[in-house]
């Protein structure tokens, strides 16, 4: 039976990689590997997971230098030579081993006004939104985000600019801006414009490259840039 050599980050910001030998199996995922280590080799290993079927995003980690969902990453596709390097998501404080503190990720979501703000009450009829309208198609292309943090972890501007809201927060803001039921447009544009917002995006497209849901935050951020420009030129910003 063949064996994988797996280096796993242990510690917090300060720490080191620890090597494990894990039996290689057919159809094995990286999450299977981490689980094996924790159950059979070292119970002190800290890591997160929940659904293990690619729906919740909790198992996101850095695998061979790239942020991925470990439950949806087959070992065969990343460990051709039998070697794996597993680390916590980048750009986030490390609590312990493979677990990061996601608070800053969600705080920025809130700062980008990533919350729906409509005007109808339950007493009124349901809003009618044409699914094929340009605005709704923009929303649909970006709405499936589950907040896994892979894009945020992949973004170099997040690393270079501590205030940068990041691709997920800006992507969510875009979906709300394009939602015809939304009533907070001016407030949203003020939240996402500027050095900490959409204008700091330099189209590296690492977010779009890595998103497991194939969302393109770059597209949404480009849209935010255009909307902010329009508002600024009209004196509305």
């Amino acid at each position: 039976m063949s064996v994988l050599t797996v280096r796993v980050w242990r510690g917090a910001e300060e720490g080191a990689y620890q090597s494990f030998e894990v039996p290689r199996r057919a159809s094995q995922t990286v999450l299977d590997v981490v689980t094996h280590i924790q159950r059979a080799l070292d119970p002190t290993l800290a890591y997160r997971f929940a659904c293990r079927v690619g729906m919740c995003g909790s198992c996101a980690m850095t695998v061979n230098g790239v942020a991925r969902w470990t439950c949806r990453t087959h070992v065969d596709s990343v460990a051709g030579d039998g070697r794996l390097e597993i680390a916590p998501l980048a750009n986030l404080p490390v609590i312990r081993d493979l677990v990061t503190d996601m608070r800053e990720f969600f705080d920025k979501w809130a700062r980008a006004k990533g919350r729906f703000s409509g005007s109808r009450t339950r007493a009124q009829d349901v809003a009618r939104v044409a699914p094929q309208s340009a605005a709704r198609r923009d929303v649909d292309a970006a709405i499936e985000c589950i907040g896994c943090g892979v894009c945020y972890s992949s973004c170099d501007v997040v690393a270079w600019n501590a205030d940068y809201l990041g691709p997920a927060a800006l992507n969510r803001a875009w979906t709300l801006l394009r939602d015809e039921r939304d009533r907070a447009r001016a407030e949203r544009l003020r939240a996402v414009a500027g050095d900490a917002g959409c204008h700091a995006c330099h189209t590296h497209m690492s977010c779009s490259e890595r998103c497991p849901k194939r969302i393109s935050p770059t597209a949404g951020i480009a849209g935010l840039k255009r909307e902010a420009a329009r508002a600024a030129l009209r004196g509305e910003l």
Binding site: W9, A67, P88, A90, N91, S154, T203, A222, K225, R226
Partner: protein, 114 residues
């Protein structure tokens, strides 16, 4: 923790890096370029001496390098304008390759003209 080059190893990131580095190089070159041309106004003798210096092969190579930088920055810039202003389409992902190709073609034209 910080990402390393493995996280950045995809075309759009290299396109960004080429665009930024060529921009910095051009920003450093431009004042020198203006200053030399300004010599034509005030100091013809110095300009002549300088222009004779530019006949050297190494300088010619440098000129080709500058054209490459300019073409690269222009191509990268057009790609960015397309990404930011045109409706989002899948083929835009291959714009990086197209920009690189265009830059090489232009600089090759310059090199061949020498």
């Amino acid at each position: 923790m910080r990402s390393d080059v493995r996280a950045r190893n995809h075309p759009a990131f290299w396109a960004f890096l080429a665009h930024r580095l060529s921009g910095i190089a051009l920003a450093l070159y431009l004042p020198a370029h203006f200053w030399v041309l300004g010599l034509a106004l005030h100091d013809a003798a110095r300009l002549d001496a300088f222009l004779r210096w530019t006949d050297q092969p190494l300088v010619k190579f440098g000129e080709w390098g500058l054209v490459l930088l300019l073409a690269a920055h222009l191509a990268g810039g057009l790609r960015l304008l397309a990404l930011e202003f045109l409706p989002w389409r899948d083929w835009q992902k291959s714009l990086a390759a197209a920009a690189a190709g265009a830059a090489l073609v232009v600089s090759l034209a310059f090199a061949l003209a020498l």
